[in-house]
Symmetry: C2
Subunit: 367 residues, 2 copies
């Protein structure tokens, strides 16, 4: 291969995308304010310091390690991998829960209420987000700050905004590695929220044990706008805002959703996905939801489906990273970038056949 | 890149998979009996002869050209591409219809009945099949022979069994190029049947204008066994065997399917997929089905969705072939084949992190 080929994001030559300048909630502001980039530079911790700090549950060091993982700079990336290798034996012991929802379904209110309930029960809860659009919007941190005020103040909770910048593949890797760091720091429930843009649900499904879909009452109208295939990923559907005048409608929606779920193949082998109702605003249904998740974990651990999925997720991740790399190498190759649109148009116009066009491109790439 | 990398199927070094030894129905047996492999060798037609013969609607030459396209031998492949380039200006003028169905829904009976109806109306109908499993089963031709006896005897119909051997990517290319050859030979309706194995529905959807799903009465039970996501690909659902005692159940199933379709996003922009009933065995509902397809074509041609989809399909095809090539190059590389399972297991066992494993593999590949 020539040197012309642009490296994909996860083996970058230099930091170009910048970092989030805001810092995670739940960390002492004096300790973690200012630019994350400067931060990494200034305090050059050793790999051992990072690993030990994380293992000790030091939230500041955990946040810095996540920043390291999110960095697109090559020198950071190398140390990040060294840190992950150190903490690897202490990972995997959480329940990883993915959460998605139709717009307006109240994802933040649910995470706030559900996360607070779990903390009360003695759990340690990390909240992460996958948002491939954050490179455009500058990250969802502003949202997170105001969205989950109570949970953010809880010392057993750790809220980390989505990594900014980069491809879905990059966000994917950063989030997976952040899950590992949080697990090593002792968080036993990881909530991964998806913003619902592009393929983000599929990406989150590929890194969690349990996937929850939040919806509203009024299934009929809402389903029309629901993203294709999302329902088929869900291990449970939670009809939120089942309070006040909405209770009756929520019941009807629940029956309706159960009816549809009946037609779909189960998202997880040996588990039948069902619809439930809750009111996150009034903290109703949180305990029930947690019991369902625990029953899910018991059932799938007993059947082996739990471990099977985690192992398959790991292997899929390897393959996805390789494919990402191969495609990025090819499609960002200068000659390909120049020639592809021309050849595509020729084929569409019927002037050239597909196989010949593809061969020409491959010859260019391998030249 | 080194020479070690195995070429993917569509740029093969030599013919290894062999050909179907049976010949398509609808062709004079004296003209086309015996091994197709010998056939291509013996009569070395020029590219011009192929192109002219196809354009003249010579069925024997069409069949030979398809055999050429299906060949995995490099010398055949080059000429096949030359032939396709010659006939390219005369392609694209058919309605391409994909047909899939649950087992037992009566695909063959439907194609027989529907195809015969179209021939009566003066259309020329080509029937192709995508069956990525045919490399194992030895092709579905035996089935095809007995399945569509009436249609096979019709001089306006051309039935071609699925290409044998090779990957889904290879079958995909061969079928797409066969569509082009049939169009140049004057067939104005192309029916592409999917056997329903693996990803074959998605592949067929990616090469046709209209996608039809055949089902049986008794939606509830049947849907449980239906492949995930297939319903969302369909521009229409046809409930077959709506005859005799089944009529009433078919009506109920129709309402049921329409209800579910209501919840799904349309397979085609601006077209609302609906369920219909028919009895292929008694030749009922064939005219109605054809009218629906014509209305679909009118609607989508007017809105631009028709051309948009065809252009997108062509571009996707280019990208899919490139990705196929890149992945085959990588995963069939001897060093990768040796090392991948070991590294995968190390990662699954928690002894190595994913990013490091992937880097090691890429270094091996690029060495």
């Amino acid at each position: 291969m020539t040197d012309n080929k642009k490296k994909p994001e996860w083996v970058p030559e230099n930091a170009s995308n910048g970092f989030t300048t805001e810092i995670v909630k739940g960390i002492d502001q004096n300790d973690a304010s200012g630019s994350a980039r400067k931060f990494v530079k200034k305090k050059g911790r050793t790999t051992e310091e990072y690993a030990q700090g994380i293992r000790n549950g030091n939230r500041t060091i955990l946040a810095q390690a996540i920043t390291l993982v999110e960095s697109n700079a090559k020198r950071h990336e190398e140390q990040a991998q060294a840190v992950i290798n150190e903490i690897l034996p202490y990972t995997g012991n959480s329940i990883r829960i993915g959460i998605t929802g139709v717009p307006g379904a109240g994802k933040s209110t649910f995470i706030e209420s559900f996360g607070s309930y779990l903390c009360e029960q003695g759990h340690r809860v990390a909240v992460l987000a996958v948002d491939p659009s954050s490179s455009v919007t500058g990250g969802s941190i502003l949202g997170d700050k105001t969205r989950m005020e109570t949970l953010a103040r809880n010392k057993n909770a750790f809220i980390r905004p989505s990594p900014s910048g980069g491809t879905l593949g990059g966000v994917n890797r950063k989030t997976r590695e952040t899950i590992l760091l949080c697990e090593a720091a002792g968080f036993d429930v990881i909530l991964v929220e998806t913003i619902g843009v592009g393929q983000s649900e599929v990406v989150v499904r590929s890194m969690v044990d349990f996937f929850l879909l939040l919806v509203l009452t009024g299934a009929g109208d809402e389903l029309q706008g629901m993203k294709k295939g999302v329902m088929e990923l869900a291990d449970a559907i939670l009809i939120n805002k089942a309070d006040g005048d909405n209770r009756q409608r929520a019941k009807i929606a629940r029956a309706e959703y159960n009816r549809i779920l009946h037609y779909l193949q189960p998202a997880t082998k040996g588990w039948s996905s069902k619809a439930y109702t809750a009111s996150a605003l009034y903290h109703e249904g949180m305990e029930e939801m947690w019991k369902i998740i625990l029953r899910f974990v018991d059932t799938t651990k007993e059947s082996g489906a739990f471990t099977e999925r985690r192992n398959a997720q790991t292997k899929d991740w390897i393959h996805a990273m390789i494919k990402d790399y191969l495609e990025t190498s090819f499609f960002s190759h200068p000659s390909i970038k120049t020639k592809l649109p021309t050849l595509e148009n020729k084929v569409v116009q019927g002037e050239l056949n597909v196989t010949t066009a593809v061969k020409e491109l491959i010859n260019l790439f391998e030249a």
